[in-house]
Symmetry: C2
Subunit: 250 residues, 2 copies
């Protein structure tokens, strides 16, 4: 719990090998070593699970040897995120949370509505507002959360930009996270974040993109390819969003 | 009524002044002189209403002197259009009709759902399918109709392309007329034409565009500016689409 009342996983700042050794001992040689900035798609992080100190120190060296944190492993029940936006006049608008599934450190699906307790949604939305105001932030932010046992909500990471877990907004909302960001940074008013449909966004990672032809044949699916020339394993090549009417229940 | 059973206004092909004089006499010196192709926004047409033959001949000369038609004036109750698409495999999909209001020959608003008798919608949709198949057409087409007394439906004009009266589809449908056209001409399957919202599209003509700031402040309105450098009277500078939930009634 930090000064703003925002709960996160327990963590230690790591700037050298001795700091890492101390933190590893505190956390029983388990945890996630992360760079403090610019991590994405599992890049910039290494998971330790009973890892010898020498191997952990090697991992720290590979991440640059400093400006990292070691985070304790969180036994979460699900992951979700909230895309928020703050305008120049301080107005904040949040999209509905999405439930996210990752594989190999890469986001695979975001589903809206998320199956979350109402209290968790309220808490997460309040946290996003707190973060945006505390940073005097203007633009779109993605905030990733863990839902833990007893409906406890922890902040996992913040992405100070449009975020992959908000790509469904381009298909299911009147105003996408992209337009919302442009509105914010241009000093224009924010638009509605309301959804016209339920959405299930799937990333096309690596050769998933070879399925694009089949996806095009689904009548209520919005396909977005990034136009990358080369398909590589683990590379995000595009995404698609399946839409269903709001009246459908998950 | 032509060979395909498609009803239009009465018209005469006009290729010279004598043909025009004959047609004027047939139609009581009233009618619309139109170029057969490439007319838009009232350009390429002149309305006659008890106009002297000499003035009509002058108008014909200004339109190129040939390749025109003279159409009898149609006392219509409302104007509407249907945006259709035909794929390489012959599949046809039509969007819901929009009710259109023109001023000074320029489209001002398109509203969906259109207030039309069910039979008129069915008839118009069947006409679009007939046109697309008869032309072995691939891509998006806009077909403009008049609704006349006794619910009679006449074809006014066809626009063999995406059409201004279908711009609402980008805001209110899963798949816009633009993506639908790309799908058709690329030989891909057509996508759903279903609406997630009701829509009211307004063109920003000339200095209407100065209102863009106010329009941006409407939370459920999608604004599209064309980025034209110079604002001129009668020039289409952009459009916006106000969205309301499907459950709202007009």
């Amino acid at each position: 719990m930090n000064d703003h009342g925002i709960a996160t996983a327990d963590f230690r700042a790591i700037d050298d090998a001795s700091g890492l050794r101390l933190a590893m001992s505190d956390f029983g040689n388990r945890g996630v070593l992360k760079t403090r900035r610019f991590g994405y798609d599992g890049k910039g992080q290494v998971v330790f699970s009973g890892t010898p100190h020498a191997d952990a120190e090697q991992a720290l060296t590979e991440l640059g040897g400093r400006d990292c944190i070691l985070e304790s492993l969180v036994p979460f029940e699900s992951e979700f995120s909230v895309i928020g936006a703050r305008a120049a006049d301080g107005t904040v608008r949040c999209y509905d949370p999405s439930e996210n599934i990752h594989r190999d450190g890469i986001l695979r699906t975001s589903t809206v509505p998320a199956l979350l307790p109402e209290a968790a949604i309220d808490q997460a939305t309040a946290v996003v507002e707190t973060i945006l105001s505390a940073l005097d932030y203007i633009g779109v932010i993605g905030v990733e959360f863990f839902l833990c046992s007893n409906d406890k909500v922890l902040v996992n990471e913040i992405a100070p930009r449009v975020h992959n877990s908000g790509h469904w907004t381009e298909a299911a909302c009147m105003t996408s996270q992209f337009e919302q960001h442009v509105r914010a940074v241009c000093g224009w008013p924010l638009a509605s974040t309301s959804r016209h449909s339920n959405a299930e966004m799937h990333n096309l990672v690596g050769h998933d993109v070879d399925e694009a032809g089949q996806i095009l044949a689904e009548p209520a699916t919005v396909l977005h390819l990034y136009g990358k020339a080369e398909t590589r394993a683990g590379r995000k090549m595009g995404h698609f969003t399946r839409l269903t009417p709001l009246s459908h229940r998950r």
